[in-house]
């Protein structure tokens, strides 16, 4: 019993340290993403002289703003909307990175059941991000 509770206390302490690390990771990811979105936003507003786009009618975004590889290319080829979209991609990647780090964290604690559970969450995330079969449009 004493050994058991000692183990639980050690687990709690190691969980706590790990949670702090995850918290910092998430905050850094959000700050980076927000900075990229902000720069892209200022650039977009400086450049645009037209009236605001009509959002009343849904047309969907063009292909170059819906696929990761093309977004990166757009951001690199002086399209401010591409840069904003890149920032949003970074934002979406932040919780995914948290799950990746959690796999490592549970592995260090040798908690194999939670390594498997966390891998399941990661696979679900990667499937939703990568699989084009889930999209309504090709």
């Amino acid at each position: 019993m004493v050994a058991g509770s000692g183990k639980a206390a050690a687990r709690a302490a190691s969980d706590k340290a790990f949670e702090m690390l995850l918290g910092r990771l998430l905050r850094s990811g959000v700050i980076l993403a927000a900075a990229v979105v902000f720069v892209g936003g200022v650039w977009y507003l400086v450049q645009s002289k037209s009236e605001v786009e009509n959002y009343k009618i849904f047309r969907g975004e063009p292909a170059e703003l819906t696929h990761a590889a093309q977004i990166v290319r757009q951001a690199g080829s002086s399209n401010p909307l591409g840069l904003i979209q890149l920032g949003l991609l970074l934002l979406i990647a932040t919780p995914v990175a948290r799950v990746v780090f959690s796999v490592a964290g549970f592995a260090i604690e040798r908690d194999w059941m939670y390594v498997v559970i966390t891998l399941l969450v990661l696979l679900t995330l990667l499937y939703s991000l990568a699989s084009s079969s889930l999209a309504a449009r090709p």
Binding site: E53, Q85, I92
Partner: protein, 280 residues
């Protein structure tokens, strides 16, 4: 309304800031008012609105995580285990969103808003004391402890399958409506699984970002995420939420929560009305 891009962005950013500020003060999250704000006030199509809202939900959840985690309330194993249900649910919801009419989405949104408004006015007391251990929870190492005025207190997690099922529903709603669905997540943990309220709310916040990320990829490919619209929404909500978190320790939130609850209920009724009329 004919606005140039700068004026439009500033007005949307300001509205989003207020939404994020109130959402963080009341614990309801900014996402719940972003969609009514964009659709009812700015006439934005529901699909663009939920795209922008989902992005802001990821930002606030991840941005606030550091502060929550420091307090030591959240339960990482409970969060991770239940994220299996919320992520699969979020995928179902995002796929469903592409096949349902915007009127149906607006009506479901209104109903979820009504529930959120109701749950925000409830008073929560820690009453899940001295419950016996549950066999599933023991197997999954879900039981934990959290700081109270009387020192660390341990708790036993109950009704794991029910909580897991409710979390799937929370995921579907998050993917369908572009919200964090924190109210349903807290319902699953606090009411069904008998997890202490503080632990439920902080663990819920921790889960919201991962849940939303599971539908974000689908939203992106379906063209719901418009950069020029998502930009002022994300920056406004994030800044508002961070400001709210700074004010929170000294704020008298009781009255504010009731006022905000009434505002949300009114928006909910309007969403349902416009949805039934087929105007959204």
């Amino acid at each position: 309304m004919h606005l140039n891009a700068l004026a439009f962005s500033l007005v949307v950013a300001l509205g989003s800031f207020v939404a994020g500020f109130l959402g963080s003060l009341t614990g309801l999250g900014g996402g719940v008012v972003i969609v009514p704000l964009l659709t009812l006030l700015f006439g934005v199509d529901v699909r663009y609105a939920i795209g922008a809202s989902l992005v802001s939900v990821i930002a606030t959840s991840s941005g606030a995580a550091a502060a929550y985690l420091r307090e030591g309330y959240s339960n990482m194993r409970v969060g991770m285990f239940l994220e299996i249900a919320t992520t699969v649910g979020a995928i179902s919801g995002a796929v469903l969103a592409a096949h349902l009419s915007t009127s149906v989405i607006a009506i479901v949104f209104g109903l979820v808003l009504l529930y959120s408004a109701y749950s925000s006015t409830q008073i929560h007391e820690e009453m899940h004391r001295g419950l016996p251990p549950d066999q599933f929870a023991t197997l999954l190492k879900l039981d934990g402890s959290y700081p109270t005025p009387n020192g660390l207190e341990t708790y036993h997690v109950r009704h794991v399958p029910l909580g897991f099922g409710l979390m799937y529903v929370a995921g579907v709603l998050s993917g369908l409506l572009g919200i964090g669905s924190g109210a349903v997540k807290v319902l699953a943990m606090d009411q069904a699984m008998k997890i202490p309220f503080k632990v439920s709310t902080t663990t819920s916040n921790f889960m919201i970002g991962v849940t939303a990320a599971a539908s974000a990829g689908i939203y992106l490919r379906n063209g719901y995420i418009d950069p020029a619209l998502a930009m002022p929404v994300m920056l406004g909500v994030l800044l508002g939420a961070l400001t709210g978190a700074r004010v929170l320790p000294g704020a008298k939130v009781r009255t504010l929560r009731i006022v905000f609850g009434v505002v949300i209920a009114a928006l909910a009724v309007e969403m349902i009305f416009q949805g039934v009329k087929g105007r959204l």
